[in-house]
Amino acid sequence: MKSFRPTVLSFFAVAAVLCAPPARAADSSADEIVKRSLESFYYAGNDMRARVSMKLINVQGKAREREMTMLRLNLGKSGDQRYYIYFHAPADVKGTSFLVWKYPGKESDRWIYVPALKLVKRIAADDKRSSFVGSDFTYEDVSGRNVEDETHTVMRKEDLGGRPTYVVESKPKTVIDYSRRLSWIDSERWLPLKEEYFDARNEPLRTFTADKVEQIGKYWTATVRSMKNLQSGHRSEVVFRETEFDVGIKQDIFTERYLRDAPAQWVR
């Protein structure tokens, strides 16, 4: 018996070592984890409506605020999406609205409506890394990126704030403002709970956190989110209120007609 225990222990030890890489692979591949995370974060439901408050806070603590209604529709399995964003405040931009037709494989189409001129203008869309309305979020942070834009590696599994997560490292395939990011992805709800972006010198650049996660209907969603620029000290906090999924938003809402004339059923 005495000689047996070490054998058994060593068997388990060997098995543990041998099985370690397959065990990790069996959990989920990195691409699969990121794909599920993008689906949970950007594609939940067939459609979504939310009233969104955004605070842009500079390093002195001075805040600017944006109040928006956001509508989203998924177009079947293609991954194509439509976004509609209407600004309620501040007063100077009230009534301004954005329309985005997003395609996974190519640049989005984007329009802005300027209410004072009753002007609809198509905007050059090659700016997914540009700031969304002056915030620390980029257009891509708002409407999502493609799994294939980055290469992904699972670094480890780790608890974060009491939630089990995969820590995934993602490196963009083309040179953009960040060289890599680390994501803490909830391994049960698939939402990213935290992301750290690093610049070309591998210095921390921005940090995303999902500060509050709630279940709304069938879907887990981050209702409070923030993005902090660690180099400038500027940060942006977003609160999603009145979030609803599968409410039956029709595709024709996402056209010039409603860009000019906000759909009262949804924008309130």
């Binding site: 600017r64 405040a89 100077d92 050059a124 700016d127 700031s131 002056g134």
Partner: protein
């Protein structure tokens, strides 16, 4: 146009408007309530040229004003009725005048497939950036030349606008005449080939139903490209001056237009194409020098992001005069000669800084035919969500015979400060 005419025309719209507002207002105020917003703004443009101001011209400060705007808006819960009003109270120090201006005031009724808007409303059509082909609605060139915020570049039309959405978007606009706000010698130093000393009078089209302006647009998508077709039965909005005996009379000749536009993505940018035909029914053979000859107009534009938070836009624009020989034969001595094809290029560069609190913008018209230019640089800083200030300039230059070059004694710098609430 006499005061009586104006009152008659206003009453033409006032009756239906009142009924329309009554129809849309009670429901509108019921559930959603009425929102009030507004701003106070100071705007001063100071001329940079040392050229002497002629007597009676306040050209040293073509614009110096304090303005308050109140905006009210409401709609009912169902969203099928609403209204909007924008009113300015303006102290104009240049003309020593205080004015109340109804910028917009309209009521809306809408259903799933139809919408109607009646009242004073701004309408913007077409693809051009500060260049207009199929948008024949009233504009304010004085606001442009003195650096007013962009919302003042268009004037409201007193109109009934009907929309139907059977698939494509059909829009029909029936409007009373409203002239452009064009530069006059009250604020600007203008080269004037007409005889000096004669009294001037502009006659606006009256309230005769024949003078109503009717414009139509059909627009739709072809995949992610947008196509639109336009027609207008309208008037030129700047006066055609004619010496008649002891006075100079300005009229607004009739104008018919038809055109089309197309916009969509090419490469990493957006391309826009627009063309139109301007038919001058009061001068079909081109022999009346006071009335614009018929012409084709076209533009091609391309804009794209240059780097983060920066956009570059370019446009090429051309006007091709139909009866050029007739024009040359009848052009009176002393008037600058236009090319048959007048070409203008524009460039716009916009860059945001500091989380979009700082905006640098540069717009330039370059007269390729007339060898003149008009450059508008500006820098805006938003102190907070409510308060912003902008400094900028309107710089005219080049040959004085050109449209922009003729304004070169009016180059100015401006400062706008706005507090919005």
């Amino acid at each position: 146009m006499s005061k009586g005419d104006r009152a008659a025309r206003n009453s033409f719209l006032a009756g239906p408007l009142a009924a329309f507002m009554l129809a849309s207002a009670p429901a509108a105020t019921a559930a959603e309530g009425v929102a009030w917003n507004g701003f106070v703004q100071s705007h001063v443009a100071a001329r940079t040229s040392g050229e002497h101001c002629p007597d009676g011209t306040e050209c040293d400060f073509p614009s110096a004003e304090l303005r308050g705007q109140l905006e009210t808006e409401g709609k009912n819960t169902a969203g099928n009725a609403g209204f909007l009003g924008r009113f300015d109270l303006l102290r104009d120090f240049t003309l020593d005048d205080t004015r109340f201006v109804t910028r917009e005031l309209y009521g809306d009724l809408r259903s799933e497939k139809l919408a109607a808007r009646l009242g004073r409303q701004v309408i913007t059509w077409g693809m051009g950036d500060l260049l207009f082909i199929n948008d024949t609605f009233p504009k304010d060139q004085v606001a442009l030349f003195t650096g007013q915020p962009q919302q003042y570049l268009k004037l409201g039309s007193d109109a009934l606008k009907l929309n139907a959405y059977p698939g494509p978007n059909l829009e029909l606009v029936i409007a009373g005449f409203r002239p452009d706000n064009t530069p006059t010698s009250r604020r600007f130093v203008l080269a004037d080939p007409l005889p000096v000393g004669l009294p001037r009078r502009a006659e606006e089209p009256g309230s005769d139903p024949n003078e109503l302006e009717i414009s139509g647009r059909v627009s739709g998508y072809l995949a992610n490209w947008e196509l639109a077709g336009y027609v207008s039965r309208t008037h030129y909005r700047s006066p055609a001056w004619r010496v008649t005996g002891s006075e100079i009379v300005g009229t607004y000749p009739r104008l018919n237009t038809a055109g089309a536009s197309l916009t969509g993505p090419i490469g990493a940018g957006v391309v826009s194409v627009e063309a139109g035909y301007y038919d001058s029914p009061q001068d079909r053979d081109g022999h009346d020098p006071s009335v614009e000859n018929s012409q084709f107009r076209g533009l091609v534009g391309y804009s794209r992001q240059t780097w983060e938070d920066a956009t570059l836009g370019l446009q090429l624009y051309g006007e091709w005069m139909r009866d050029y020989v007739a024009y040359r034969e009848t052009l009176p001595a002393g008037f600058p000669v236009k090319d048959r094809l007048r070409k203008v290029a524009t460039i716009r560069f916009t860059q945001f800084f500091a989380h979009q609190t700082v905006t640098f913008n540069l717009f330039a018209f370059v007269g390729l035919s007339e060898k003149d230019r008009y450059v508008i640089p500006s820098l805006r800083y938003a102190f907070s969500d409510n308060l912003w200030a902008e400094i900028g300039a309107n710089l005219f230059g080049g040959k004085r015979s050109g449209m922009f070059g003729s304004l070169q004694d009016n180059s100015n710098v401006y400062l706008t400060v706005r507090y919005a609430f």
